[in-house]
Amino acid sequence: MAGETENYVELRHINKTFKNYKASDDIHFGIEKGKLVGLLGPSGSGKTTILRMIAGLETADSGDIVIDGRVVNDVAASKRGIGFVFQNYALFRYMTVYDNIAFGLTVNKCKKSDIKKRVEELIELVDLKGLERRYPSQLSGGQRQRVAFARALAPNPELLLLDEPFAAIDAKVRQELRSWLREMITRVGITSIFVTHDQDEAIEVADEIIITNRGRIEQIGSPGDIYSAPKTAFVAEFMGSPTRISNISEFKGYEQLDRTIHAVVRPENVSVTKKTEKSRYPASVEHGIVERVLFRGRELELAVRVHGVLLTANRRLEEARIAEGEAVDVFIYRVYAFHENEEVQIVDNANVGTENLFYI
């Protein structure tokens, strides 16, 4: 319990049902001050609902929400000291950029000169100088996001909530904005929670990731932990772009596993070598047939059929070319194995180490 008091935001056993759909099922987590946390899960898994309940835009059926040591269940949304960046930004379309950012200060009856100073400061921060008199319809997606960010920060909130902040932005600019947002939040030093359904985004931006699925929390941890040590079947199948294998015990190096266990394997844990190349573990390679070769820019993506399963693997461009239909050697380094409703085990190929021939 001692650890819990350090949390700046805490959700305690929150439940929320819409009509008869359980959107939040015993949601329980804490967030330390100054952290940037990502709520990651598929669409409809209840991420927005969690965010809206923290903000006070939605009321939980049961459970407590604590912000800065105070239970805020009955505190009005506007009194919680929260900045909110809406999914489509919800900028005030009949107000200029300046008025949008100033809105929160104006309605709280701040002094005109203070408002001006604060808005100018924020416009400087988000680099929108010269666009103050534009309307939202005259801005690009990235600029709108920055206005939404500045508007949310204007009243100096203690907690910033962002709902899919990158969803409305072209893929090209998105990458750039991720690092921008990360840097901004670090610079302002504000505790933040953002929602996303994109695992790359969560891994890249968040200090800590909370994985949601069907209204429940599946796992909480650092991006590294979540990625390399998934705890539940859902997380194992959600992270990376894994292939599911239901006959893993037929694969060399995994014969020790239970016949009924499921496993997932990620592309980076599959190595494909040509028959003419030397494999690192010649005794435990499987025979596979390449069905598809896709050019992915930095690398090739191969779809290889092994024991009836179509595995995905990557291969570097500078390596010898592999053609579709070619017979190859396939070696699986690691799988994540699980029985339904049980914890995931990380299983390395049993032959790694015993057969360490060409290890560099």
Binding site: S78, F86, G104, V107, Y135
Partner: protein
């Protein structure tokens, strides 16, 4: 193929039919109204419209219209807001009820009020006791006009409110804005043109309403005769010049409203483009 080949002929035929139809049904009668009004010279026209009872009728129509429009604007905004922003049991019923006056004959509307507030009503003794006269008096005329025109404003703004969504209002509320501030700064700019358009339609209909008002007014010359009722009275008394002279004024007001309506439609469309670009 067939249609495309003939499209030139078909197009002009349809346009021609529409033009003839409009001319016969609308333009000719309107010209005829004007012509008859001024047939016996401007002096007679002026005499007819400055007649004591004519002026009273014009005054009453203006008063009833202004009152109706104010009440319906307030009611229309509240009703649309409730329907688009809250979910509550019976919401569908209320939305349907709002449109009722469009489907009910105005005569029925008049009769409903006669039954509700007239001699045979259980409310009558209380109204009598309080000294309130509704039937065959100005309040009755206002009530009837309100009933007939109340869908116009909400029908214009409900679609706009629905399209806007609640995001911006939610964002404003989260930043601490009160209900009135949200309405004034977020919602009103959005529904402004639709609202004005609804007000114009409501005004036009309120000015011209005959049926419901006719039932409730009692036709007291100089007291409860609105312009349309007064025109009918003159007409029944074979005073065609007088009838058409007063009609001409009503037509003139309608034309002004038509122009206003076009301006609003144009501006509304332009500002809509602005906001959604």
């Amino acid at each position: 193929m067939e249609i495309r080949k003939n499209s030139g002929v078909l197009k002009w035929a349809l346009i021609g039919i529409s033009a003839v139809f409009l001319t016969v049904m609308l333009i000719l009668p309107l010209i005829y109204v004007m012509y008859t009004a001024f047939e016996e010279g401007i002096g007679v026209f002026l005499a007819a419209v400055t007649d004591e009872y004519a002026l009273k009728a014009i005054g009453l129509t203006v008063r009833v219209t202004v009152l109706t429009v104010i009440i319906n604007t307030v009611f229309g905004i509240f009703a649309s807001w409730c329907i688009t922003r809250f979910s509550f049991p019976g919401k569908k019923v209320i939305s349907a009820l709002i449109d009722l006056p469009l489907t009910v004959s105005p005569i029925i509307a008049g009769l409903i009020y006669v039954l509700t507030f007239g001699r045979q009503s259980i409310l009558y003794p209380y109204l009598q006791g309080a000294g309130i006269k509704i039937i065959f008096a100005v309040p009755g005329i206002v009530l009837a006009t309100i009933f007939v025109t109340f869908p116009f404003i909400s029908r214009e703004i409900i679609p706009v409110l629905n399209a806007q969504g609640t995001d911006e209002e939610e964002a404003a509320a989260l930043m601490g804005a009160g209900g009135f501030t949200i309405f004034r700064r977020i919602t009103l700019p959005h529904i402004k043109w639709a609202l004005l358009y609804g007000i114009v339609l409501c005004t036009a209909r309120a000015m011209g309403e005959f049926g419901a008002v006719s039932v409730l007014s009692g036709h007291l010359r100089g007291k409860t005769n609105t312009m349309p009722l007064y025109i009918e009275l003159l007409y029944q008394g074979y005073d065609f010049t007088g009838a058409f002279a007063v009609s001409a004024i009503l037509v003139l007001m309608a034309v002004v409203i038509l122009v206003l309506r076009s301006v609003l439609e144009y501006k509304g469309a332009k500002s809509g483009e602005q906001a959604h670009k």
